[in-house]
């Protein structure tokens, strides 16, 4: 889809070696705006190495990453985040005791002044931004000041995604976003991903759950032992074919 437009993210001939181990070898892929690409593969296939290399945790041994046509190189995950590549980790990375707004702004809290001279946290701005952002994800909470520990797993996932969206992430890397959730919650996350797609963001979706992959992705990229084992449009493939690619049948 959208093959004529400028790709959001290009990965060209990316390799990452740990000593003699080739965790990722000469791997290339492209993500278009509004596209959801599923990353599949058995344990140790190189999925994690790939996303860590894209998100600035690892430096590539060779190859390049281009963001909207510009070659980029990140020394830290923070740099990647500043450029709009956000990773949403399985363990959520939320401070449970803080509100949605405080979590969205964690580390970048807005300040205001009380009585004209005492600097204080701008809780109203945080709550307003949280409400707007969550509404953008079709997620409505009445008690914005409640700590996120009051919310369910799917809602907390939405908060983590909301944080990425607020800070204008263009590429969201989601590592097993549905793994720890019950079925209704999984459906909520899937519908969130559809929302993000509508907004023209690119999503890399890692999952072991083929049903989720088929429900949400446009394309699937299968890794095996650090190399591309195959790439299929979801509309043109089947569960069986994907499993075969994963196990190398």
């Amino acid at each position: 889809m959208n093959s004529g437009t400028q790709p959001l993210l290009e990965v060209n001939n990316l390799s990452k070696h740990f000593g003699a181990v080739r965790a990722l070898d000469d791997f290339s892929m492209v993500i278009q705006p509004g596209e959801v690409v599923a990353l599949a593969g058995d344990n140790g296939a190189g999925k994690t190495t790939l996303i860590k290399t894209i998100s600035g945790v690892f430096r590539p041994s060779s190859g390049e990453v281009k963001l909207k046509g510009e070659p980029v190189s990140f020394a830290t995950p923070q740099e990647a985040r500043d450029k709009g590549i956000e990773t949403i980790y399985q363990d959520l990375a939320l401070a449970d005791n803080l509100s949605i707004g405080a979590n969205i702004f964690l580390g970048r809290e807005p300040m205001t002044r009380k009585l004209g001279f005492i600097p204080v946290l701008d809780r109203k701005k945080m709550a307003d931004a949280a409400r707007d952002t969550m509404a953008l994800l079709d997620f409505h909470v009445s008690r914005m000041e409640a700590p996120v520990s009051n919310f369910s797993g799917g809602q907390r996932q939405a908060v983590a995604i909301g944080r990425a969206v607020y800070w204008n992430a263009q590429i969201l890397i989601m590592d097993e976003p549905t793994a720890a959730l019950g079925v209704p919650e999984q459906r909520k996350v899937i519908s969130l991903i559809h929302q993000l797609k509508k907004q023209g963001r690119g999503i890399i979706f890692i999952s072991h759950n083929l049903q989720d992959i088929f429900a949400v992705s446009d394309r699937i990229v299968v890794l095996r032992r650090g190399v591309m084992a195959g790439e299929r449009k979801i509309s043109e493939t089947t569960h069986d074919e994907v499993v075969k690619l994963m196990v190398g049948g």
Binding site: Q78, A95, L98, N150, P184
Partner: protein
Amino acid sequence: MTSSQINAPAEGEHVKPQADHADRAKTVVQRIADLRAWLFLAVLIVGFEAWSRLSFGGTFIFNGFNLQSIAIFAVAPLLLATGQTFVIISGGIDLSMGFIMGLAAVVAAHAINTFTPGLGLPLAVLLGGIIAVAVACIPGIINGLLVSRLKVPPFIGTLGMFGVARGVAFLLAGGTTVPVSNSFFATIGNGRIFNVPYIVIITAIFVLGMHYLLGQTRFGQHNYAIGANVKAASRCGINIKSHLLRLYILSAACAGLAGVLYAARFNAGAAQAGEPLLLDSVAAVVIGGASLFGGSGTIIGTVAGAFVIAVIQYGLVFVNVEPFWQFISVGVVIIISVLIDQAQRRFSGGRQDE
């Protein structure tokens, strides 16, 4: 229970507002738990008032002298406890505060004695006080470096510094108490305005500042976040190392101020000034609603906790009970307080039982 309450949303469908669940979770138990320090305080005051009227026919709480005494009693434990509140919220503990307080008291005594002939009374007090707090910050810096850079568990790192500060304080004091001869300092320690002791006013202003720091600034917000989830805080770009360093310096500075006020009140510096207060400070924080696992607690709660302890201690003396009952009473209050906290967690822990 949580997940089953949420309608499985089709694409674009709204999730039910969470209000019902969140409000119901705020059960009576939780409300009691939030206010437990104040409830304890109310029960104690009513109890001592009744006891006092029945035994002596006099009032306990409507007596200005008693109120003053309780406030003065509370000063040092409260100062330690405010610093301890920050540390405990971050998920750590500072065991060295008691002897840092003693160290500061001894340094203040020496410094003020040294400066008084040359600088005059008030200036010597000011400079001596500043030097004492600055010296108190040194063990704080070491604590901070141990915990943040060398990853020493706070319990062990600050326990080591407990010993070091204790030894240094006794060495500086020559194994005895150091009397201060500066009448201005004595006035600060024992004088009052409109019947409110100066040291109580100084403490109140300081505690107010700490309340602001915890509740209204980035430092306070990051402190809560670190206590709840260090990994999350670090991923969000919070500099954990520098935060922890500043945190332990802050708690040492609180102990330093407590030491200076101690020296002012007793006109002497003593290395063992804060020895019995350390555990009182931890107790005040816990009674005040903080969790030793980190992530929760408030300065207001700690103030209530410190007053609970002060009222027990002073009240039992007032009604003429053997002082050893103080330990038992404070101990019982700590245990009840933690039990309430755990009951509350069981009732509100909706997330875990998904």
